[in-house]
């Protein structure tokens, strides 16, 4: 109550505040940028690794780098996933970006085109064998007009997890996971379990853990976009077949069963495979850590994604992250030195084995497999082998947001509102139109 009575005092406070603010409003001096302290170049490194497991690992790597030489000092900073890049964009626009940042592998070319990142060609030129250290499909994503604009850091790949205990229970050979779509469907059927008319367990759900796009990638082996010729290939006959297969698979159960199951586990908290409600699941190899932590010692196996027909190829899909230097960073030489360290075989192996993560450096990947043991080693080794047949689908610069036109069409197929052929034809047309309008 006294608060309001003293309003005259408040008025004075207010006017004083206004005064100082006014003075500040006119003052437009730039902040002194963090220059060299004690002869060292200070650089700032941003990423979204802030959890209890990842942060200590990256901090250790940064610390190792700081100790390994006496010219550059790196400060690590955590920023939340997603928002980190909004902030980066604003800071690039304002001319005070971080020196190194971890960014999405799928949009490197766009950022290069938009002048948001530094061309690394002049540095990489001095390291001619650098590019051979990384998986070629990852290295390809960092090239824009043949110049690298980032160095790949980590990646992932989708593999098939199957529950060996349930395989035995269903009379299947626990050491023979399905290798084709037909086998997958047949095995899944045997793993189904009913209580009365209700399904209490399903063998497999094609749209759990991965989306229809991964099935399309697996079928066509190239995905929805032809990067060489810069055009969409969405209504490829094999893509149509893939959607039809998912539809037929789900039709066997009816949309009600599928929806009930799908929705039970839609909220990313509980997982049906870990809960024993799903016999097989497609997921990223890192899913292993969740089975390890919450799976109560279940016996499981991993296998490459089954192929559409024998000989069609076990193409899988993955994503990943890269390290890059935002445009306007003050010490690009020092930044590059640090990125090189970050993506070197030794540090990559450390990151990979500590976090059970797939890394971009080939030697690093192989070394990490050696550091692991038991089940972890088994899964990791398969994942590393699987990288050779893993497709990365960066956003094409001709139509970076084309998926926003394709996914709703696929949704319509799954809801039974459109045939796969009609939907993909429409999607193809819409994306062609988008690519044309972006020219």
């Amino acid at each position: 109550m006294r608060f309001f009575k003293k309003s005259t005092v408040m008025l004075v406070v207010f006017l004083l505040a206004m005064g100082t603010l006014l003075a500040a409003c006119g003052d437009s001096k730039d902040e002194a940028s963090s220059g060299s302290k004690k002869g060292k170049t200070e650089i700032e490194f941003w990423s979204f690794w802030g959890s209890g497991t990842r942060k200590p690992v990256i901090e250790k790597i940064v610390d190792d780098f700081n100790k390994s030489q006496d010219k550059i000092h790196v400060t690590y900073k955590y920023l939340p996933f997603g928002d980190i890049w909004t902030k980066e964009l604003a800071s690039v626009a304002a001319g005070n970006p971080p020196d190194v940042i971890i960014n999405d592998i799928n949009s490197v070319q766009q950022r290069a085109q938009k002048n948001q990142s530094v061309n690394l060609a002049k540095y990489v030129k001095n390291d001619p064998d650098l590019k051979d250290q990384f998986y070629p499909q990852l290295w390809n994503t960092v090239l824009y007009k043949n110049d690298p604009y980032a160095i790949p850091f980590n990646t992932d790949t989708r593999v098939l997890f199957y529950n060996k205990d349930l395989f035995k229970e269903a009379g299947l050979d626990p050491n023979k996971p399905p290798t084709t779509w037909d086998e997958l469907a047949a095995d899944a059927k045997k793993l189904d379990k009913k209580s009365g008319s209700q399904y209490t367990r399903l063998g497999f759900l094609p749209r759990y853990g991965i989306g229809p796009d991964v099935w399309i990638d697996n079928a066509t082996g190239v995905g929805e976009w032809d990067y060489k010729n810069g055009k969409p290939v969405i209504n490829d006959p094999k893509a149509v077949q893939a959607l039809q297969w998912i539809k037929d698979y789900e039709a066997n159960y009816g949309s009600k069963v599928i929806n009930t199951f799908q929705s039970q586990f839609g909220s990313e908290q509980a997982d049906p495979f870990i809960s024993g409600k799903l016999g097989m699941e497609m997921n990223a190899a890192t899913f292993y850590t969740q089975i390890r932590d919450f799976g109560k010692n279940m016996d499981f196996g991993v296998a490459p994604m089954p192929e559409m027909t024998s000989g069609n190829g076990h193409t899988s899909w993955g994503g990943g992250f890269v390290a890059e230097i935002p445009k306007g960073a003050k010490h690009p030489d020092a930044s590059y030195e640090f990125i090189k360290f970050l993506t070197s075989a030794k540090e990559q192996a450390y990151w990979a084995s500590k976090n059970f993560d797939n890394v971009a450096n080939i030697q690093g990947s192989k070394d990490a497999a050696k550091d692991l043991s038991g089940k972890a080693k088994e899964v990791y080794q398969l994942a590393v082998e699987n990288l050779d047949q893993t497709l990365i689908t960066p956003q094409p610069i001709e139509a970076p947001d084309y998926t926003s036109l394709v996914n709703p069409e696929i949704d319509k197929v799954m809801l039974g509102k459109k045939s796969p052929q009609a939907a993909l034809d429409d999607a193809q047309k819409a994306v062609e139109k988008l690519a044309k309008s972006n020219k």
Binding site: S7, L11, D30, G50, P80, A94, D271
Partner: protein, 287 residues
């Protein structure tokens, strides 16, 4: 006499019945409102394994009270708490002072261009923040305000369109006769503002205080954009560490969210005394 007593008796009974019905409705509503909160509370006490379990449990098997301690230790939350209190204090101060002041000008003083300027006030609310965010960032960067709390606090002292509009609506219900009378008595507008309008609008000002407290306390994008050093981070940024890119630590996230929520609730509970019926003086003056 007895007839009259009967009449009052029946009025009383009627009132009782009415009250009971309202009470039942309110309790049912409260259960609906609180059930999601129960979910949060239950999750916050579960072990990570139980939080990931299917089907989810409504009552934790084992109560992990230490979750709250673990949560608080997962990041320098004490520091974040102090930072958040600091920012919130000045934002609320700025909003309460500036907006009552500005809204008074827009509601109780006639001047040229008032309606046009007020339309501009409203218009500033209609442009989505995304498209002005980056230019705004550049402006604050040019002012040298990055990595300080200035971009978060200073704008509050320049008024906020939402609050100006809100307070204007309240001030306009204060009878002009009162203002005129005070003027005739020689009071200038500062006097009228501080001695009549502000005291008469306590519920409205309390509302502004609560809203702006809430806004500043829960602001996420603001501190994230403008603050660089981790020492200056706020509670909301701190909470984000539990929501990883791969998996979410549900129990800690919920425990943290509840801890962050608590001060706001306590404050709201206290501020409620400004919402007691009959406080506003207009009640007596005009019918």
């Amino acid at each position: 006499m007895s007839k009259e007593a009967n009449y009052f008796q029946s009025v009383k009974v009627k009132k009782r019945i009415k009250q009971t019905i309202i009470l039942i409705v309110l309790i049912l509503g409260a259960i609906l409102i609180l059930s999601p909160v129960w979910w949060m509370l239950a999750t916050s006490f579960k072990s990570m394994t139980e939080a990931m379990q299917y089907p989810p449990t409504l009552w934790p098997h084992k109560w992990h009270f230490e979750n709250y301690i673990e949560t608080w230790k997962a990041a320098p939350f004490t520091r974040y708490l102090l930072n958040t209190i600091f920012i919130t204090f000045f934002v609320v101060l700025g909003n309460v002072l500036a907006n009552t002041f500005i809204a008074y000008g827009f509601s109780k003083i006639q001047f040229k261009g008032r309606n046009v300027l007020f339309a501009i006030v409203l218009a500033t609310m209609m442009i989505p923040g995304f498209v002005t965010m980056i230019p705004q960032y550049v402006v604050f960067s040019k002012l040298g305000w990055l990595n300080t709390y200035f971009p978060l606090i200073v704008p509050a002292f320049f008024g906020n369109a939402f609050f100006i509009f809100l307070l204007r609506q309240f001030f306009m219900t204060i009878p002009n006769e009162m203002i005129e009378a005070a003027k005739i008595d020689g009071g200038n507008h500062f006097y009228i503002w501080s001695r009549i309008v502000v005291p008469l609008s306590k519920p409205a000002i309390a509302t502004v205080a609560i809203f702006s407290f809430n806004g500043a306390w829960n602001d996420f994008l603001g501190p994230l954009l403008y603050v660089n050093s981790e020492k200056l981070y706020t509670l909301q940024i701190g909470l984000s560490v539990f929501k990883g890119q791969v998996s979410t630590q549900w129990n800690y996230l919920m425990a943290g969210s509840l801890l962050v929520l608590l001060p706001v609730l306590v404050l709201f509970f206290i501020f409620q005394r400004y919402f007691i019926e009959g406080m506003n003086i207009t009640a007596g003056t005009k019918g």
